[in-house]
């Protein structure tokens, strides 16, 4: 039987995908996400698929990180505050060389280090363990404040969920980050418009969302969260926010379950695990999109 890595990489030339191309990395995050949730009978595939391009753009060049030296002091810090999409971080890290891709098959497995929600324990490249929502932005603000006090230029990026923005702690941190002028702190909201039970608009409405952040003192912009060029440009502007005295937020409009037709905008796929015919059908759709 083929190794896990061979199964995911075999169709690429020489079995080596070019992960510097964000579209390739985003595809791999989805392909791994499908495989990992299938093998583990895990959940949250809809969130993994919606955040795929965001993570891909970050790890294919935006973040200044060194896979061979994960604790390099000058690295940019990434916190996946919506820790339930942990698979997306694990596969971005594995595909870019932080640890072997083969290990991804152990996601959720007894005795492995790749827990369902993202964990930093023993996993090279993961800064912070998350899973309880509303924690990441505060930690990110602390990192950015520490960097500012040290005169460092590295950035801190915090990826939030839209449902996560129900948490009051997110807005506490939004106030603090603006107050302290943390212009090297960048938040990205995976704005897939759905949360656990229903659409965001039918749960706790966030709109006018961009205006909220701006009123809190942030630089805010919206973009198509599946368009890697648009994301790259938005990150570029956020990076240039250093010196503005204001933190930046990118509202990345995405589709929950993006990439598999029957999962898209379908609340079922927040928790449902891809098995049997549904797994096969999802695999066929993803293979047809392989860059």
């Amino acid at each position: 039987m083929d190794s896990y890595e061979a199964r995911v990489h075999s169709a690429f030339p020489d079995g080596k995908p070019d992960v510097r191309d964000p579209r390739v990395l985003a595809w791999l995050i989805r392909r791994n996400g499908l495989e990992m949730t299938h093998l583990s009978r895990g959940s949250h595939i809809g969130s993994i698929f919606s955040v795929a391009e965001i993570m891909a753009v970050l790890y294919s060049g935006v973040l200044n990180v060194r896979p061979e030296d994960p604790r390099w002091p000058e690295r940019d810090r990434l916190i996946l505050s919506k820790g339930h999409a942990g698979s997306a971080v694990y596969s971005a890290l594995a595909e870019t060389g932080f640890f072997p891709v083969e290990e991804l098959k152990e996601h959720y497995a007894n005795g492995s280090r790749l827990s369902g929600h993202v964990s930093h324990k023993g996993v090279p490249g993961v800064e912070v363990s998350t899973g309880a929502l509303g924690h990441g932005l505060a930690i990110g603000a602390g990192l950015a404040l520490g960097a500012a006090m040290d005169g460092k230029s590295w950035r801190t990026v915090v990826v939030l969920g839209d449902g996560e923005c129900d948490e009051g702690a997110v807005w506490e941190s939004a106030l603090q980050a603006a107050q302290y002028g943390l212009d090297r702190l960048i938040a990205v909201v995976d704005y897939n418009h759905m949360q656990s039970l229903d659409f965001v608009d039918r749960t706790l409405r966030l709109e006018p969302f961009e205006a909220k952040w701006r009123d809190f003192g942030w630089r805010a912009e919206s973009c198509d969260g599946h368009d890697t060029d648009a994301l790259k440009a938005a990150f570029g502007r956020a990076w240039e926010g250093a010196g503005s005295g204001r933190p930046s937020v990118i509202l990345a409009h995405t589709v929950k379950g993006k990439g598999v037709s029957f999962m898209e905008n379908n609340i079922l796929w927040h928790y449902r695990t891809p098995q049997g015919e549904e797994y096969e059908a999802a695999l066929r759709e993803l293979e047809a999109q392989r860059p």
Partner: protein, 307 residues
């Protein structure tokens, strides 16, 4: 205790530029010397305790040694998940400091009674819990806390409380209990600022010819098992006193050690018995009303000795 803490904090900030203080918009007069001497290392997180602790975790990740300061339940119960997930799980150098353990802010009402904090903080893995009994123990414990790696909890009383110990405590060895008074008839144990009530009770008992040994536990976790086991060997009855509920706190910690040892010693826990203090009253009033003051301790001790 508060002032002893601030003095020790200033010494630590003087010594190590990595020490920063994060406050939840509290400590106006108390923190003024910090603001004057180290304005760049005092961060006001606003009235936002969850993010205050998350922010502290992030700062600690940049190599800082972070002291989080607030009062009552605000630095513990409100941001509990941030303490557990962000500080303790990541083994970060964050020192959570509570001023106002127990009924210090008694007449302000139930919201300001910190009467479950020891139980809750002690339950979280990786958190070392300091519960000094008076200013002298605070002076001894705070430098030890700063030298203790990882996340710690420091439960303080108030400002200007009387000293229980006669002089300074020199050479305190973590996490040892501190004997305030020798005895032979019964042992009185406490953690935190209630210690003074035990001292007064022992003095009253002495007038009646009862010699009570008084032992304070400036460190709740890890707890000094050796001292507890030694006391359990020497006494048939031990009274624990805490300005706190009796569920899960200091008395429970003592019970755990003694129950596991197979000793026949009986533990009698004084503290809030699974209730809130609903009456209005200052610290002395509430200590009396809820049976944890010198009167209550002496009365129970005498009954046990004369039984």
């Amino acid at each position: 205790m508060r002032d002893a803490f601030v003095r020790a904090l200033l010494r630590e900030m003087e010594k190590d530029s990595r020490v920063v203080l994060v406050t939840g918009d509290l400590g106006f007069g108390v923190l003024r010397p910090v603001k004057e001497r180290f304005p760049d290392r005092l961060i006001n997180a606003g009235i936002a305790e969850q993010s205050m602790v998350g922010l502290a975790a992030g700062l600690a990740m940049t190599g800082r040694r972070v002291v989080v300061y607030s009062i009552g339940n605000f630095p513990t119960l409100r941001p509990l998940e941030q303490i557990r997930n962000d500080c303790a799980y990541h083994a970060l150098d964050v020192k959570i400091v509570c001023v106002g353990g127990g009924f210090v802010y008694g007449s302000l009402g139930m919201s300001h009674h910190a009467t479950e904090d020891m139980a809750v903080m002690r339950a979280i893995p990786g958190i070392t819990c300091f519960t000094p009994g008076d200013p002298a123990e605070t002076e001894a414990a705070v430098p030890v806390m700063f030298a203790t790696p990882g996340t710690c909890y420091l439960r303080l009383g108030r400002g200007n409380e009387p000293r229980a110990h006669e002089g300074e405590i020199t050479g305190w060895v973590f996490p040892q209990a501190v004997r305030l008074r020798a005895g032979k008839d019964i042992a009185l144990l406490s953690a935190g600022g209630i210690l003074i009530e035990l001292k007064r009770a022992a003095e009253r008992l002495a007038e009646k010819g009862i010699e009570a040994e008084v032992v304070s536990f400036p460190c709740l976790k890890p707890i000094d098992r050796g001292t507890i086991l030694d006391l359990a060997r020497r006494y048939g009855d031990i009274i624990t006193v805490e300005e706190h509920g009796i569920t899960g706190g200091f008395g429970s910690a003592v019970c755990e050690v003694i129950a596991e040892s197979g000793s026949g010693c009986r533990v009698h826990r004084l503290g809030l018995k699974d209730c809130f203090a609903t009456e209005v009253g200052d610290q002395a009033y509430l200590r009396h009303r809820y049976g944890m003051d010198a009167d209550a301790v002496a009365e129970l001790a005498e009954r046990l000795v004369r039984k």
